[in-house]
């Protein structure tokens, strides 16, 4: 299909452009020529660096690069999960939030932050966030099934109920905690942030994204079929029960890993797949690569803005994704003829 190769080519170019933009923007000035110098230096060419450039070198590779990479991973991952969940519940308004992962992870993280618990050393925050996320999606999965049948309506309702419940619990923990000073940290966590990302945080999310993407890419036709009625899907030879369970588990695990590193970044998982759907049509053979490249590009751009707009401060990236995303979303929705 010509469209597919065009999409891969164009998407990769866009992602590369955003990658460079992400590396170049931030609170300390880095001119494009300097960026080139630093890249050349890294590759073993070019003159030795001045003291000023050495500092920029440090900032570029130790602070910005991990951030840009993590932005790409989480943007791609959340968009893919959003697209998958939308097929899972056959509703374009579905969001990774429905998996309960964000609220579960927030609860886990908040418990660690306010209790000062450090069972696993510096990693306790991530690990508890992951536990919380898994617990929440496990509960939602449990309530979505009845007599072995997985129902998408049940998923939506149990997802809503459990997410609200866990968010309320998070608030309870915040308000009753002895060490209330952590409220600001918690706020940052629940709104999502890439500020604390280090290069050592990247391995697990990369592997999770790779696994999640290859599963969804292999399932692209099945995802299309899953958008139809259950009966139709069945007659096209797709065991929807099993397929939905697998999509749920893969999506929940991928989101849990991402959220445990960055906190819950909203709106991306809802918006990116739907914008792409308006542009490309509801065809998962295009949406899956589109979400990978488009989601990554969007998040890198949003993070670049979050870092440079109010520099030297940072605004939580969730604010940028919503501010940037909503107008695009509304505009596309209006100009589409459906």
């Amino acid at each position: 299909m010509r469209t597919v190769s065009f999409l891969w080519g164009g998407g990769t170019l866009l992602l590369f452009a955003m990658f460079i933009l992400g590396l170049a923007s931030g609170s300390s000035d880095l001119r494009f020529t300097e960026l080139i110098d630093l890249l050349r230096h890294r590759l073993g060419y070019g003159p030795p660096l001045s003291e000023e450039l050495l500092n920029k070198d440090l900032i570029l590779w130790s602070i910005r690069l991990p951030r840009v990479l993590m932005a790409a991973l989480s943007g791609a991952g959340l968009s893919l999960v959003g697209a998958a969940i939308q097929a899972l519940v056959r509703n374009p308004m579905a969001d990774p939030w429905l998996l309960g992962v964000s609220s579960g992870a927030s609860l886990g993280a908040v418990l660690v932050l306010v209790s000062g618990l450090s069972l696993f050393g510096g990693l306790s925050l991530q690990i508890f966030a992951f536990f919380g996320a898994s617990l929440a999606s496990g509960l939602i999965y449990f309530f979505s099934r009845r007599s072995q049948i997985f129902s998408s309506t049940r998923l939506i309702f149990s997802g809503l109920a459990i997410s609200f419940c866990l968010e309320a619990l998070t608030q309870v923990v915040i308000f009753t905690a002895a060490r209330k000073g952590e409220v600001q940290n918690v706020m940052f966590w629940t709104m999502g942030s890439l500020g604390s990302v280090e290069s050592s945080d990247l391995l697990v999310p990369s592997l999770a994204l790779l696994a999640g993407f290859s599963f969804l890419f292999r399932s692209r036709t099945k995802l299309n079929i899953a958008c139809l009625s259950e009966l139709k899907a069945f007659s096209l030879g797709l065991d929807l029960q099993r397929f939905r369970r697998n999509v749920f588990l893969v999506s929940a695990a991928l989101t849990a890993v991402l959220v445990s590193v960055t906190g819950s970044i909203g709106f991306v998982g809802l918006m990116v797949p739907h914008v792409l759907r308006l542009l490309l049509g509801n065809d998962y053979r295009l949406l899956i690569p589109g979400c990978l490249l488009g989601g990554a590009s969007f998040m890198i751009a949003a993070d670049a803005l979050a870092r440079s707009f109010f520099s030297p401060q940072e605004i939580p990236i969730g604010i940028i994704t919503a501010l940037l995303g909503s107008p695009i979303f509304l505009w596309l929705m209006r100009s589409s003829n459906e």
Partner: protein, 324 residues
């Protein structure tokens, strides 16, 4: 055999000692964590007003390359903010990691929620990876670990540690001696006047619910130094939100208004007066207020002076004790 082993140990030990003597590493404690630096910092950054003022009061402006977390120099004490032309000012609440690293610092003096925060990624652990040493305000340690009750000793420890780190121990001790002398003087005055314990409410901000100082906030130490009681000294934190009902229940006899933020002190005072009109709260009925700036209510070089001001205000508010 045994002798040979001992000989090796001796060799290793002596070489280690020689190295140690050459660089004379300095070990200090920051929120319970041991920190080690090989030489005193030359490119320091302080975040927030009180940490900056401690640095400046110790005469360390030449060691500073950046000040963050304040809007302009006018929020610093004028006598301290004279030669700061060479210091980069990172405006706004709190900076991010990148903007700090860009100043190539070797030391950051801040505190938890005074710039450091787990969520934003600006933490001592993270800075250590960039070869940047840190010291966190003692008062702020409550955000990351449990700690004994607050007192002026916490400020003295901050000043003493910064003094050691920058090799200005003498200046630090002189400052501390002055503060101790003034605190002692206050104590004897309080005793001489038999100033009764008063219930004091610290109003930081907030209209939906008030924000105030708890057990581990430095205002509690200031109030207790004068023999009075912070009405929220049962809350095991430094700063926190409470409810208006609690204030009504605890009937403060005196209110300290922290002057900062979007609402002016006068607006805050008017708000409280309106909120508790005819409620029978003594502080409001009798109009017993003291306004102190934000920096004066955080641990630092203004703390003792603020305590003196509080003493003056209390003795004016409760004149029966001046004569009694």
């Amino acid at each position: 055999m045994q002798g040979l082993r001992l000989f090796f140990f001796y060799l290793i030990f002596s070489s280690l000692r020689a190295e140690a003597a050459a660089s004379r590493p300095l070990v200090y404690e920051s929120c319970g964590e041991k920190e080690e630096i090989s030489e005193h910092p030359k490119r320091a950054i302080s975040i927030d007003t009180n940490t900056t003022e401690i640095m400046l009061a110790l005469g360390l402006s030449s060691s500073l390359v950046g000040i963050a977390g304040i809007d302009d120099h006018s929020s610093l004490l004028p006598e301290l903010s004279k030669d700061l032309a060479h210091v980069r000012l990172l405006k706004g609440p709190y900076p991010n990691l990148e903007s700090l690293i860009a100043l190539r610092p070797d030391f950051v003096f801040a505190g938890w929620q005074y710039g450091f925060s787990e969520g934003s990624g600006l933490t001592p652990a993270r800075l250590r990876k960039f070869g940047v040493a840190t010291y966190s305000l003692n008062e702020s340690c409550i955000r990351v670990r449990s700690r004994p009750p607050i007192g002026f000793d916490d400020i003295y420890t901050d000043i003493r540690t910064i003094g050691r780190i920058f090799r200005v121990e003498a200046r630090a001790e002189a400052l501390i001696a002055d503060y101790e002398k003034r605190t002692e003087a206050l104590r004897s005055k309080v005793q001489a006047m038999a100033l009764k314990s008063r219930r004091i409410f610290v109003y930081d901000s907030g209209e939906a619910s008030p924000f105030t100082a708890g057990k581990y906030g430095i205002p509690t130490a200031m109030i207790e130094a004068l023999g009075s009681k912070n009405i929220f000294d049962d809350l095991a934190t430094n700063w926190t939100g409470v409810s208006w009902e609690d204030i009504f229940r605890r009937q403060p006899e005196f209110i300290i208004i922290v002057d900062y933020g979007a609402k002016s002190a006068e607006q805050k005072r008017a708000f409280l007066a309106k909120k508790f009109k005819d409620s029978g709260i003594p502080a409001i009925d009798k109009g017993r207020f003291l306004v102190l700036p934000y920096a004066a209510m955080t641990p630092g070089v203004r703390t003792i002076e603020s305590t003196e001001k509080l003493f003056e205000a209390l003795s004016r508010a409760f004149p029966e004790h001046v004569n009694g």
